[in-house]
Amino acid sequence: MAIKLENVTKSFGALTVIDNVSLEVGDDEFLVLLGPSGCGKSTILRMIAGLETVSSGQIHLGGKRVDQLPPSGRDMAFVFQSYALYPHMTVRRNIAFPLIMRQFRWWFHIPVIGDLFKRRIENSPEVRGLVERTADMLALTKVLDRHPRTLSGGQRQRVALGRAMVRQPSAFLMDEPLSNLDAKLRTAMRAEITQLHQRVGGNFVYVTHDQIEAMTMGTRIALMRDGSLQQFGTPREIYEKPANTYVARFIGTPPMNLIEAEVEGMTVRVGTSVLPLPDGAERPVSGAASGTGRSRVWLGLRPGAFGIVPPGQGKSLAGTVTLVEHVGAESLISVKLSGIRTAHDDDGAPTDEVMVSVPGYSELRVGEAVGLDCHLKDFSLFDQDSGLRVGGRAAEDFTTNGRVGAIRTAS
């Protein structure tokens, strides 16, 4: 079911933590809310779930407005970062709990009688079958009668997923569900959740600060910062056409290099080198700001978009190696450019270093003079004042490039 946020704002007194966020995803999409700690992504998720109220704006699920409904009335399941299992219940009861609550009557509150009724529901063929099928899917069959405290982190996480799945909700909401797992298990669970999405369908809304999770799992990413939406698009769109310098630096490891440049006509000048822009490249409206026909921009280049050549060769940028890191399949090389400013932060605080990645084991030494060839195929241009994207690689339609085959784009 489509999820739609319309001008959603959340304030605590004078403090606005979510500022006018609007986004919409279609059926069966895997939406990732991405951003650093404290950017408001979890708050958005909690508002969708109904655990937080909305200060203004509306939330719709499948065309129905839900922001006034209690959490239980929204037909959504929530997977918590801390799993939030019921420690006093067995795995079986944990998974069956949402189903028991569906048939809950007030007399279930009466201690012994209530327990009998709950057990009866739990043992009814349909609930038992559903719980066992879910457990089977998550490889939990063997631990069904154990308590959460006896399980490993990965198993607890799967119980939390099972409790969400068993309700067959119209949306799964997950709040950094993998952040408590070790790196290896995280990779495995990442694949499991992606497969789960493909198998059970439905909308997934997934909060993470890990861009790898976002890029690999999401069919759509909403990148947040300080409570406002920075960019909303497919992983490819966000990677290849970042909307601003913040997005450019947030996505990608190492992040995109931002090099001070000037665009004039179909060329871009970096330092003393004048490089031609490829055909079809989007350019800023020439000199709109300065009236000189030139636009001052940050040229955004991924670390892989450089070639290391002998110093002084062709139109290469001159620099000195300051750091060489070997990470196996590639080497990361920091190069200090001579006479050219670069930016490490989206606020444009100037430095003069770029990060270059080259395949294989690099024999370069610290202090060595090198030349950097810029490959202007995948690149972005950002306005130096606003940080917004003003041009870059040739226009291309990224909107249907999701992880899952055919994604209906929100209209």
Binding site: A49, F78, Q81, Y83, A84, Y86, P87, H88, N180
Partner: protein, 273 residues
């Protein structure tokens, strides 16, 4: 290592001796023939031939009735205190409302009033409500004193229940009451047990109200009954001691029964870390 172990053992035994000796001395005294009670060289060992003192305590006094009355009062106080304290404790822990701090503080304030000060006003109220000379009245008076303590103890425990577990229950379709009963209470079971012990002991040991509000002999509690032996002219010391021992036993049994629930780690495994 062994040294610290031994030192600890000695310290524990010393403490145990200090705590247990009075009880032991009660036991020895209860089994000492009356003519030896005031002997200048007291016997350290009980005279087992005197064991009939215990049978006499039951046959010659209304001990059985007193114990039953005490049990009714203690159990009633415990049940009512826990029942009344759970929801306020939850509210103080989880809900935000105006005057929350003041309310919590006011609960504490009630603890600072001595029982004796409240005897007269309560007597007046109980007269009007026909609660004088009833065990229910006694239960209510005791509960008034235990509810604030129990509320604060339970609030502390509820504070420790991760809020995610409650949120999970909300999403799974639990009402607030459902969350308290089905999720929170089982998780704070050890603290409930501890609170029950406190309320039970209060009800079991209470003397001032029981002495003042109950005049009917058949409704006397054991604390008052025990005190009634102390006469103007004579006090049957060994009977008092025997009754004292018998009076102590149910409380100890109750504690032993409940203390196995007072185990740590009930909430472990529900949330990470």
């Amino acid at each position: 290592m062994i040294k610290t172990h031994t030192a600890r053992l000695i310290a524990v035994l010393a403490l145990l001796g200090v705590a247990a000796f009075p009880l032991y001395w009660m036991f020895v005294t209860s089994l000492t023939p009356s003519e030896q009670l005031f002997s200048p060289s007291p016997r350290m060992l009980p005279t087992l031939s005197q064991i009939a003192t215990y049978a006499d305590a039951f046959t010659e006094t209304s001990l059985r009735l007193w114990l039953v009355n005490s049990l009714i009062v203690a159990v009633g106080t415990t049940a009512l205190s826990i029942g009344l304290a759970v929801l306020p404790a939850y509210a103080l822990s989880r809900l935000d409302f105006r005057g929350k701090l003041l309310l919590g503080f006011a609960l504490f304030m009630t603890q600072m009033l001595p029982e004796a000060m409240l005897v007269v006003p309560l007597y007046d109220i109980f007269t009007q409500l026909s609660l004088l000379n009833t065990l229910l009245g006694l239960i209510l008076a005791n509960t008034a004193f235990t509810v604030p303590v129990v509320t604060w103890i339970l609030k502390g425990a509820i504070d420790g229940v991760p809020s995610e577990i409650e949120e999970a229950a909300r999403i799974d379709g639990c009402s607030r009451l459902g969350i308290v009963l089905a999720v929170v209470l089982p998780l704070i079971a050890p603290t409930l047990a501890a609170a029950a012990v406190i309320a039970f002991f209060h009800g079991w040991n209470e003397y001032v109200f029981a002495q003042t509000f109950i005049s009917d002999d058949t409704l006397r509690t054991a604390s008052v009954g025990l005190a009634s032996f102390v006469g103007e002219l004579s006090t049957p010391v060994h009977t008092v001691m025997a009754v004292g021992i018998v009076y102590t036993l149910p409380a100890v049994v109750f504690y032993l029964f409940v203390q196995r629930y007072v185990v740590a780690g009930m909430t472990s495994g529900g949330v990470k870390g």
